[in-house]
Structures are given as structure tokens and as C-alpha cells.
Subunit: 390 residues, 2 copies
């Protein structure tokens, strides 16, 4: 038996392990330190009341013979949820048919599995810095990867270069880790670039609920031409705090490869996946109800308030950064080695963030903070940071 040797080409992912190790060492030596964590991109506020209510109801249904549900009739998701997602898109003016929506246990699964549909012999264009899954999932399946530089010069929102040869393009906007977000005009350039060369864009819209600027699209399907070149991945993780609950969805438009890609993805999912739990699908439906959207916006607004505070503090200190608006992430210039900055922040301010170098070569010299802590702790962290930044 021969193993998939592409796995040998993967680099070990030491980023969060190394952060945990340094934190552990520091707190062991300084047990009274009041650490404020702004490192991992995980939500902290509880599920919205109407989501919990829907979950409790679904859970009770599963305990009674008359209302029990076994395998879902379609591994792409119950109609009630696909309709709710379609209506959610319509609420911000984007038309996506319920039949084009494929519900899953999370956007990370879809992001990892979507590569199944493409030949190994494709060149993949990935921005740097980047969410590591785009890169790793393609290395695992043996594809050639080229990078597109996101830097201070392009405000971490790189645009296509006509000289770049590529077949599959990953875009994430609002971006993880940089918080930058493409405008309609910028994203249109990518759509035109992809259509011109018959490339496919895999568009990660996980942070769309954080968009506030009117010139920033919440979906790639807000762009003319996207339906012939793009797949969109989205999630309830950041929109509705589902990081530990798990539910996401992928939109494959009917126009893509003459409908072939949508059929392939449906086939992939019905063969290698057995649908998302009925319970989570009811919770997700509630999250996109009028009441659910309202309740979830309270959480998003709380995170946005934190993000603005961090951004304002950095602006006041004259520090270049992206994100902080349209995003729960703030990507700041730390002038120098990003692990040195991590240590400085940890030891001098007792604040934990994420060194930019962990996201790619262009991340060196930068640092990510997240807005997922409480307002009080974010305030306290900013007070402490002011002292070492000023």
C-alpha cells in the first residue's frame, strides 16, 4: 500500500501550538498575570435566544416517535434551510436559488473538500498572507500553488495580474487574517480576470456579516459575471456564533461549467457526506429568520465596537493597519519580527495576539488582533497597548 506522499510536503502547523506554548510558559512563571486573549478567531458570545429555542425544539422532536427524523431526504440540506439561506441573500439584494445552495457541517469542510472536483493538473493562485486551509488542501492533493502578494502597498487587497497563469483562485473578503475587504470595483476585476481565462474563484465569504461599508459586497454574486466563474463558501460560524455548533453552506451557481460543477458537488456530497444534522439545520434556519438576524446583529455589533476601539487606538498611535471595519480582525504593522512583537505584547501588556508570519511570508512584520473578547477587556488591552506603542 502506498501512502499519499503529498502529505510529506505539508509543513507542520505550529502557529497556535507555539502560541499556546509561549503563553503556558509565561503564565507558569507569572501566575498572577491578567492575560487578555485576542489571538484565536473564535466567537465568545452565546448563541442567540431564538437559535437556542429552535435547537431545543428540534432536539425534543428527535426524542418523540411522531417527530423523529432520520437521514435527511437530501444530503444537500432540508428545503426549509436552503430557502432561508436564499432569502437571506435576497435581503441584501443577491439572487441565489435554493437549489444552488449546499448545506454542510461547516465552511472549513467545504473548503477542504471542494478541491476534490478539480484535476490535480491545475495551478492554484492563493493570496499571501492566507488562511492556511487554501494552501494545505491543495498541497495534500498535489497541485501547483502560486502566490499573489498582499502587502502594505496594495492595502492587503491584491488585484489580479494579467501575467499570472492560474486555473483556480482563492479569495477571502473580508479577509482572514488581514481584515481587508474588496470593494465592488476591485472584486469585479477578479471576476473579469477569472472569466477571461476560464478560471474558477473559490470565494470565502465567512465574514460577510461584518461588512458595513456600502461599497463592499457581502457576496461575490453581487458582481456581474460571478455566476460563470465563482463558488462561494459561507458559514454560520461568525454570523451566528456557530463555531462550536457547526453549520455552513456552499453556493455553486447553475451557470458554472454549464451546470456541471453543481452536479459534481452534489454528487461529491451525496457520496462522501450524509447531510447536516436536522437539529443544526433548524438552528441555522432560526439564525436567518427576521428575529434571528436581529439577535445576531447585537452580537456582531458588540464585536464591531471592539474592532473599532482597537482600530481607533492604533490610528491614534499612528500605526498602519487594515481591518477593524468590515471585519473582526485588525492587522497591524509591528515593525520587525512578528514573534518578537508577540513576546513584547505578552510580557509587557499581557495581551495575546497572533504573529503575522504564521500566515505567510508577507505576514512578517505584521500582527493580528481579534475583536472577539468583551468590550471591557478590549478597553483594558488597549490601555495597556498604548503604553508600549506610544
Amino acid at each position: 500500500m502506498k501512502l499519499n506522499t503529498n502529505y510529506d510536503k505539508l509543513q507542520n502547523s505550529y502557529l497556535f501550538v507555539e502560541i499556546a506554548n509561549r503563553l503556558k510558559k509565561y503564565t507558569a512563571a507569572n501566575p498572577s498575570a491578567n492575560i487578555i486573549k485576542m489571538g484565536i478567531g473564535d466567537v465568545t458570545r452565546p448563541l442567540a435566544p431564538c437559535v437556542v429555542e429552535a435547537g431545543l425544539k428540534a432536539m425534543s422532536e428527535m426524542g418523540k416517535a411522531e417527530t423523529f427524523r432520520g437521514y435527511s431526504p437530501d444530503s444537500q440540506g432540508y428545503e426549509f434551510l436552503r430557502n432561508a439561506i436564499s432569502a437571506y441573500y435576497a435581503s441584501f439584494g443577491v439572487k441565489v436559488g435554493a437549489g444552488e445552495i449546499h448545506v454542510s457541517d461547516g465552511a472549513k469542510s467545504d473548503c477542504g473538500n471542494i478541491v476534490d472536483m478539480f484535476d490535480t493538473d491545475n495551478t492554484v493562485l492563493i493570496p499571501d498572507p492566507v488562511y492556511p486551509v487554501y494552501f494545505d488542501s491543495n498541497i495534500m492533493s498535489g497541485r501547483k500553488v502560486v502566490f499573489c502578494d498582499a502587502t502594505e502597498e496594495n492595502d492587503f487587497a491584491p488585484l489580479p495580474d494579467d501575467k499570472t497563469d492560474c486555473d483556480i483562485i482563492y479569495l477571502c473578503s473580508p479577509n482572514n487574517p488581514t481584515g481587508s475587504a474588496y470593494t465592488f470595483t476591485q472584486l469585479k476585476k477578479w471576476v473579469d480576470f477569472a472569466n477571461a481565462r476560464g478560471a474558477v474563484i473559490i470565494y470565502d465569504a465567512a465574514y460577510e456579516a461584518f461588512v458595513t461599508d456600502s461599497d463592499v459586497p457581502r457576496s461575490i454574486f453581487a458582481i456581474d459575471g460571478a455566476r460563470t466563474c465563482a463558488i462561494e463558501l459561507c458559514s454560520f460560524s461568525k454570523t451566528a456564533g456557530f463555531t462550536g455548533t457547526r453549520c455552513g453552506y456552499t453556493v455553486v451557481p447553475n451557470e458554472l461549467c454549464g451546470g456541471k460543477l453543481a452536479k459534481m458537488w452534489a454528487r461529491r456530497q451525496s457520496t462522501k457526506f450524509n447531510g447536516t444534522s436536522y437539529i443544526q439545520q433548524r438552528m441555522a434556519e432560526a439564525a436567518y429568520s427576521a428575529e434571528g438576524v436581529k439577535q445576531n446583529l447585537e452580537n456582531i455589533h458588540a464585536y464591531q465596537k471592539n474592532a473599532k476601539l482597537i482600530s481607533d487606538t492604533l490610528t491614534e498611535a499612528g500605526i498602519y493597519h487594515t481591518g477593524g471595519k468590515n471585519s473582526p480582525y485588525i492587522w497591524l504593522k509591528c515593525n520587525g519580527d512578528s514573534w518578537d512583537f508577540f513576546d513584547k505584547l505578552l510580557t509587557q501588556a499581557n495581551v495575546v495576539g497572533t504573529p503575522g508570519s504564521g500566515f505567510g511570508k508577507n505576514g512578517e512584520g505584521f500582527f493580528r488582533l481579534t475583536a472577539f473578547n468583551t468590550y471591557e477587556k478590549t478597553q483594558e488591552a488597549m490601555q495597556r497597548m498604548k503604553k508600549i506603542l506610544g
Copy 2:
């Protein structure tokens, strides 16, 4: 962009679609027909009370800031569940370490995704008839597949043939669709065969909770030598009625490829999967508690009672069949075209089953019935079948 052309080699899966179409047509013409469904392998009894209780508790925790859980600390599963699964194995005398257990959203996902770890250049041995995922997931990734004939001659429990060249072997015991189950002695032959040639067995133990015969193992790890050649897939679907709830697990022993496979699977899952919902993990933990096992056994016993009734009816009518014990499936010889038998059963007895030809060439002439209906309906179905069989 080049698509994965292996998908073009897949046959469309018309089996359950065709069954639904024929059923629809018949009920449209005969609206008063009292149809009894014994076709699809889906549970019908509700979740056990203690599982629902654990689910309600976890759901409530997710609605409060103090007890809310985001991303799970390890995408392989919470320690509490991995420990509970390890203890479950120990309860029938099999030693599997908690660290060797990888929790997922279901065995079908694991079964589809496990192929990621192997080179395309491997020959895969699959029994015929077979659960279609084994075949399709390997066709999708371009591997050569050879078949191992399960027939009346070997009681649908084929043994290895030393002349067969293969690198990856799929076994399912108790089997879907045939209900046959390997004894310790038989399974040992497969383990020895795999170890002798450095092959890997992917062992699907989804139906282990139905095993009653003392000479039938519930896990491949009950066999000496299995730890150097086998991966085991298992699920809460049939054991605890989780088909619509979703939770499963895969065991990759530390001895396999010197520990390399366990590391690869952990890497695959942490890259392309984000862990199973906290809620389902708490429900699964409850399912394997002493009270949960007891409550779930009541459901299993109810299905087993149905299976025995079907098997006894067929024995009485002198009809060759496998399963009915150690399994919720009954695989019967229908003498002739299995779609003709489907039509006969539907129109003359108003009973729906599954034509064996849908599971492979050796399924022709056979037919699958499931024990997942109520006892009353199973009784009624057997009364009707007696008339057309006798």
C-alpha cells in the same frame, strides 16, 4: 481549469430514486394502498431519553456566556467523548486508546474522506455486493478497483484469495446489504492476508451493535494482528439512532505504518474538518453511558425482534437468506430479476424493499429487507409476503 474527470466514470446512483419513482407511480394509481416500507436502511425509533436530555443540556449551555463553547480544542473530538468511546470498546473486551479515536460528523464522511491518505496508485479490493460509497469514493480519486465475490456459495462472507493483488481492502461486518457477519476465525484470515502483503483494511463496523452471536467480533481490533493493518469506521447512527443527528468515529491504531497513518488522518481532519458539534458530542457521550447503552439496547432489541420475524418467515417458506441475526438487514434469494421481485412485492403485497442488483452484479437474484419498521407493520408485511411466497 480542468475538472476531475474521474467523476465522469461514476455511474449515476438511480437505486433509491428509481424505488421512489416506482412507489410514487403505484401509489398514484392505488391511493388507498397500505404500503409498508422495508427499503431504506434508516432507523425509525426516537433518540433515547438520556441522549435527548444530554442534548438539551448542551444546547442550553450554548445559550449562556459562562458555558458557551466555540471551536473545539481538538478537531479529533473532546476528550470526554473519546474516553467514552474507548470505555465502550473496553465493555466488549477490545482495547482502543482514546488518542486513537477520531470523532467526526458521521462514518459516511470518514469513509469518503479516508481515501485522501492513500496514493492514487493502489489497487482497491471491494466485496460485491457492496455499500456504494467504497466503490464511488475510489473511482472519484482514480484508483483501480477489483472485486471479491460474495455469493450464496460463501454465504455472502467471502474470504481472501491469495492470488488477489490488492493494497486497500474494504470489509463491512455485519454487512450492508447482506446482513452476513464474519466470525473471529474468518476475520482473522483477512487480517493475516492484509498483514502478509502490507495492505490496509478499511473496516466498517457501523452495525456492530446488532451482533448477538458469540463467535462474531464487534470490532476488527478483537482480532490479533489487526492493529498493524486495519482502520475501523464506526457510527452512532445504527447504535443510537443518530442517522439524522450525525456523529461517528474512526479508529486509526498507533501501530499502523509506524504511527504515520494516525498522524496523517489527524492532519487531514484538522485541515479539512473543524470538529463535530459540542452538542452532538455530548449526546454521543450520553449514548455510551451505562444508562444510554441500556436505553439504546431497547431500540436495538425491537429491531432485532423484527429481523428475527422476517428471517423466521423466510426460513418457514424455505427461502435462502443471510442476515436477520447480527444485523437489521435480511438478504433473500428472490429467484430471478430483483426489479421484477420489487414490482411483485410492491403490487401484490404493498411491501417496499430494495432490489439486490442495486448493490452490484452479485446482488442480482437477491433482495434486501430492513428491520427498521414497527413490529406490527413487520408482522403485517410478513403475513402478506407469506401469501406470495408460499
